[in-house]
Amino acid sequence: MKTTLLHGVALAFGLAAASPALAQDKILNVSYDIARELFEALNPVFAEHWQETTGRTVTIDQSHGGSSRQARAILEGLPADVVTFNQETDVDVLAEGGLLPEDWRAKLPNGASPYYSLPAFLVRKDNPKGIEDWDDLAREDVAAVFPNPKTSGNARYTYLAAYAYALDQNGGNEEEAQAFVKAIFDNVPVFDTGGRAATQTFAERGIGDVLVTFEAETGGIAQAYADQGFVRVTPSLSLFAAFPAAVVTEVAEKNGSTEVATAYLEWLYSPEAQEILAQNFNRVHDAEVAARHAADFPEVRLVTVDEVFGGWDAVREEHLADGGILDQVFVNR
């Protein structure tokens, strides 16, 4: 037993100390919780590409979790060389913590978002309630399912998209927009804490008429529950949801991985990578790839948080803060 113990302890510290300065390239990509299969598809292709262009091998380790929680772990020392998140605010947190530059959005094309998505709908087989747009969700006879916007970034996008739609319809009347969003919230039977729990509520417990989540998710859910015949519906207007990517410069410099980390994120914009991203129901910027997958991505008018709400800081202050607009429409139900 003694030898096992010594061996174990030696192994424990050996493992931890040996991580930098390996002969081959190695990066840790810390990512959001539902991107596992996506990066499992992407990483081997990048490794091949890296081998061809530099003659070096690369190992890419993946960590997945709620992106705010992941940001917190990186601040406490999780050695992420790159982050690929689904919330811009969580990259900002890292910038505030001094781990990457404040202007990270300028380091890569399209605001450092290699792909994007938007809140969209998944309805039951044959769309029995004829749900086509946000105003259908406010109908008395329609129950929408999405997680609690207080705890879920996904649902925050849903809330803001519905709000933006209402503002667009009524010519910018804030009060009417709040009443509209409240009407939607009033018909939500359960507020789960996260996107996956809401998916289970809708798909496995059979609750609600429409699941609202990222379009990138609706495709995967429809496939996972193919026997239930869910139909994907894209509203006429929705909110641009960036999937930001950034090199964690502090960590990468220390690990000597800046070159491969940067190349990895830049590669996500290549046609090769964009094709894989599109196959996983993410909208991409590459025109050719987008055209090839046009059938999966119906036309939609996309607005941004900057255009409608004046940026994330304003959203946090006016909408998400305690006692803000979200609390008023949400708590009063």
């Binding site: 113990l5 174990g8 493992l15 931890a16 840790l28 406490e76 020392g77 859910i221 996972a224």
Partner: protein
Amino acid sequence: MTHSRNPLLPRLLIALAVGLTLILVVAPLAYIFARALQEGWRVYAQNILDPATLHAIWLTTLVALIVVPVNLVFGIAAAWAIAKHRFPGRGVLMTVIEIPFSISPIIAGICYLLLYGRQGLLGPWLAEHDLQVMFALPGIVLVTLFVTAPFVAREVLPLMQAQGSEQEQAAVTLGASGWQIFRRVTLPNIRWALLYGVVLCTARAVGEFGGVSVVSGNIRGQTNTLPLHIELLFNDLNTSGAFAAASTLTLLALVALVLKALLEGRKEG
């Protein structure tokens, strides 16, 4: 006296106990295996042999292999000190050992993170010396050690206290050395309690989730223990994979429990 008043009552109570056990314990456990095997043995084997799952099983085993021996030594030492000696702070030590029982594991995780994390007390020093404690094996081991610390001590202590130190004193008068006394007198007296503590400690170390999830960093194939891996598979909508991994963990726990039952049988027999 009163038991003859209503002959139905005992039967009702037995039925209630058996029924609740079936509903609350047996059925969910059986369901884990049913779901894991739903798509047949081939898919089950594939799920278990997935490299990330295999690594999670290995990591969880490794953590237990480190944690249990350390707790074995610590448990005996602490119980020995408390039961056989009188010293200032003895009562405090007794209470402190039990703290992990009453504290939620997530608090342990957060405490260690605040101590060893990058922004923590020792973080800058560790970073300077290139030592990765959090989000690596050492962090997982530390938190598991914390959570499982009382198990061996708590099993051994009552027995040592009940037995007192007469036998040891007799051994001393007969000229036995300290190590001889421990091996020939103390250890045989406590061995069943010790084994029982080890089994419980193993079960807890293998199953620990909350505390480890804070310090693991969830790096697949590196710092994902089996309980964390199960949650991850489940969240990935990979139900059969999650249940296959869960069945392995359940098996580990059941083996520990069967061992415990056997030990109890021998202790009484």
